[in-house]
């Protein structure tokens, strides 16, 4: 019998959540118990920086703004670490903060720069196949996302770029897992049409 056959049956979702969240919870607990010791939160930061940054970048479409909002997110998380009660949802808690920060940023900026840039995407963009094959550029995707229904764009950004599972996205957005899957599906479908349309000469 192989190790895999011998192992308890599990779903990917529970599998992904398990030990990863154990580690997050242990680190968050340490950060809560020892707020003057930066090491535990530094480790949480190291583990979650890529996901938060990707989410901010794909929602804002601008590197400098993404860095600013990422910084605001982690500083707020550090300040309010005691309000995390878990268990097993540190990533969702953190992305929830990032989501609010993005919304606040968008409202204050009114997305003037990014939307203007979005309208200036040249019509000679590569075809969809070329875009897929040649590694989509995140800022390009971000521009395309601005044209989608907000809930669809949000679900896609949290699920794919924030690195959350479907259940976690549902927790952040207050929707069922089925609804999140449908939103992501429709976001990808819309994105496909938008990118394909833009690829036309």
């Amino acid at each position: 019998m192989t190790l895999a056959e011998d192992a308890p049956t599990m779903t990917r979702e529970t599998a992904d959540d398990g030990a990863h969240d154990d580690v997050d919870d242990a680190l968050a607990h340490a950060a809560q118990q020892h707020p003057q010791d930066p090491t535990a939160f530094a480790e949480l930061y190291r583990r979650h920086l890529p996901g938060v940054y990707r989410y901010c970048l794909v929602r804002l479409g601008h590197v400098q703004q993404a860095e600013d909002v990422t910084a605001e997110t982690f500083l707020a998380a550090l300040e309010h670490i005691r309000s995390y009660h878990g268990p097993g949802r540190f990533n969702a808690w953190l992305l929830g903060i990032a989501r609010h920060k993005v919304i606040n940023h968008v409202q204050s900026q009114r997305m003037s720069v990014s939307l203007a840039e979005a309208d200036q995407v040249p019509s000679s963009n590569p075809s969809l196949e070329q875009v897929v094959a040649a590694r989509l550029q995140l800022e390009q995707v971000a521009r395309a996302l601005h044209a989608l229904a907000p809930d669809r764009a949000e679900a896609l950004a949290l699920r794919i770029f924030g690195g959350l599972g479907v259940a976690e996205v549902g927790a952040v957005m207050g929707k069922s897992e089925a609804a999140i899957k449908m939103l992501v599906h429709r976001a990808v479908s819309d994105l496909h049409h938008r990118l394909a349309f833009r690829s036309e000469p």
């Binding site: 190790l3 011998d6 192992a7 308890p8 599990m10 990917r12 529970t14 599998a15 992904d16 398990g18 030990a19 154990d22 580690v23 242990a26 118990q33 020892h34 003057q36 010791d37 930066p38 090491t39 535990a40 939160f41 530094a42 480790e43 930061y45 190291r46 920086l49 890529p50 940054y53 990707r54 794909v58 860095e67 990422t70 910084a71 982690f74 500083l75 550090l78 300040e79 268990p87 969809l128 875009v131 897929v132 590694r135 989509l136 995140l138 995707v141 896609l156 699920r159 794919i160 479907v166 089925a178 899957k181 449908m182 992501v184 599906h185 990808v188 479908s189 994105l191 496909h192 990118l195």
Partner: protein, 318 residues
Amino acid sequence: MNPTNEGHDQNTRESQDMAEELEAALRATEAGHEPPAPTRLPQAHADLGAALANLAETTIPSPSFAKRLQEQLRIHSGPQSSSQPSTPPEAAPAPPDAPLMRLARPARRRVDQHPQWRIAAAMAVGFLLALLLVPIARAGVEAALGAVHIRWAPPTTAPGRPTPTLLPSVLDLAGETTLAEAQRKAGFAIRLPSYPPELGAPQHVFFQNLGGPAVVLVWTDPQQPSRVRMSLQALSSDAFVWKVQPQKVEQTSVHGKLALWLTGPYVLQYRYGAQISYDVRYLVTGHTLVWVDEDGITYRLETDQPLPEAVRIAESLR
């Protein structure tokens, strides 16, 4: 049901099926697998989803930004913000891949409160999946070297059983004993590192029965006895430990033989029969070098030292 409703229901079901297929494609891509061929979802949509997932994985913040923010967070943590307004060069923040944190030691939990403690049968020695050539952990991939087994997708909690708190330190293991007593029980020669020269004898020795005898040697910081400087676990071929979701696994060698270098933090836990034991597991915060010696003993060296130093320590065992 009228035809209009039937048509609507059919469309809804089709949309749900496509949404499920897209989610399956995303999960496969994120796990590093080939996405399954869609049956209802347009292939172009599946491809776009996979491309987006790959794009996400390859997008990282700039190192300079990561370092700046890390320093900003350090300054905002605790009293440093008021007592250390400027950062001395020696206190510069660690890079993202620097040695990891140590947690405060909580009240000791005794594993021998669980007399049923036995571990499953021995597993075959030393097979390694070709996927380990890829230095990035992928969910669901398993590998083994000697008594150490690695799993990226962790087990679920036993039904109806709360998940106990992790033991934050190897010092919280039960079975502390003397080196002589451990040597008497182990049934194999306990070898000690002769490097670094000033290392000396371990400050703590634990003996455990993990399906087979296992010895854990711990060296602590002389200035801070609760801080583990290094630990060396020697596992007989009948022992079995289970590492869950290390961040990264790389191949290396000890005395010219295959060894693994694992980057933490990750959870180390043991196995009882077909069940994963949740009673004995702890958070590994440093890096680990795993190798098997010529006598079939598996060694796990946990250290915050870089790989070359870890190999040097491993090759100094006498």
